[in-house]
Amino acid sequence: MSTGAPTLPTGMPADALGHRRHILDLDDFTRTELAGVLTTAQSMRQVLSRDIKKVPSLRGKVVVTLFLEASTRTRVSFEQAGKMLSADVINISGSGSSAEKGESLLNTALTLQAMHADLLIIRSPHSGAPYFLARNLPRTGVVNAGDGRHAHPTQALLDLLTMRDHLGELAGRKIVIVGDVLHSRVARSDIHGLGLEEAQVVLSGPPTLLPPSWAALPAHVSVEPDLDAAVEGADVVMALRIQKERMEGGMLPSMREYSRRWGVTEQRMGRANPGALLMHPGPMNEGLEIASSLAHGARAQIEDQVTNGVAVRMAVLYQLLTGTTNGVNA
């Protein structure tokens, strides 16, 4: 792994990280704050590579993961991040939890707050669930570990770190996101993060799966339905997972037609810049959104991404749970 060190914008003190209680999405991050988290993540990656993978920074802090939707990978990543920083990590999952016994999410969260949890990491099938908790929990911080189709900020942070590892500065780079953008929380958060990095984002995919109002909104985002044209000169191509149930809903033609028009193939990657990165938030449908011959290469990135995932989550926990001006510690 190379070290495309994130650089802080000039004129900003390196330690001027925003002090916040929650990480709900990247849309309220400043450039300085983003660079600060990514710099910290690189330092955390160093901790990960040691024999003794533990530092005492968050000793005595209680971090709860509340996963109301199955996701072993993200949950374990947060758990490992917390443990490496010496926090006590308690895992609650949807099955067997009070959530299934009809207790409301609010009551579960208030109970955890009353137990002096310092941070609640929530994964929910409902868009906005972390916002709901953030406004109802005066003392416990909230981290969004993926909410419905809305946002997945720590995944976006690890995507940005991975891109920086390979490309260095992302300003002016062309990032193509292809596929089911409408239902993708990863794409939404990536778009915010890439905007802060001043990268250009091109969305490609079926008209039914691109949010119609998006192209008109952020200046750094454009839509190019023709994937061949979109990939021209790209630095990163990110293929999103296609959920096969979208076909039943009439939002997609056949897999064959989708693959022909929006599948990422070697031929299409040939139009990208030399050394362009192929990414996928996983799990992949080989032969559908990504050609099998490319999937292996993409998989290599995925391993880097897993490591980076732990590192950025360590950085996030460190940022939220240390420092004097954090509400949770005040």
Binding site: A14, D15, L17, H19, G36, T39, T40, Q42, S43, M44, Q46, V47, R50, D51, I52, K54, V55, P56, S57, L85, A315, Y318, Q319, L321, T322, G323, T324, T325, N326, N329
Partner: protein
Amino acid sequence: MPAEHQLMSADDMRRVVSRIAHQILERNQGAANLVLVGLQRRGVPLADRIAAAIAGFEGTAVPVGALDINLYRDDLTSHPQPLVRPTELPVSVDGRVVVLVDDVFYTGRTARAALNALMDLGRPEQVQLAVMVDRGHRELPIRADYVGKNVPTSLTQEIQVRVSEFDEKEEVVLVEHERKVLT
């Protein structure tokens, strides 16, 4: 602007680096098993200077590393959040004599954190501490092995070691504040 006055010029600092380099060589009977580890942030260029001086005297390139101690601080929740900078050790510290290098020696808490951080990275044969300025007010039973200059201070004063890598000029100054400052 708080009042400040110079304690050491760039030349003074060069002479001190040279003396500390000699002292390290004398005490350790050469440079064979040494590693210099600068504490982020200003300890790192000072370690580089000491290594350069040793190379000049002995012709030996001593490995220089950087150690960030922020993840080991004991005041993470009562202090503004520090940025965690990289820890980079070019060689294993196992069985080596590690000389920690820092700019200002004050309460001893940074050195304590540095010792813990170092122990998580390996098992050095010996750890020594070199500082540019010792300003007193120790809160832990820790002492320095090599001291550039002893400066008695009050709690409202601050010592700033400035190095060309990060600052406009190379010098050590004493800054007078209205009240006690967190460092």
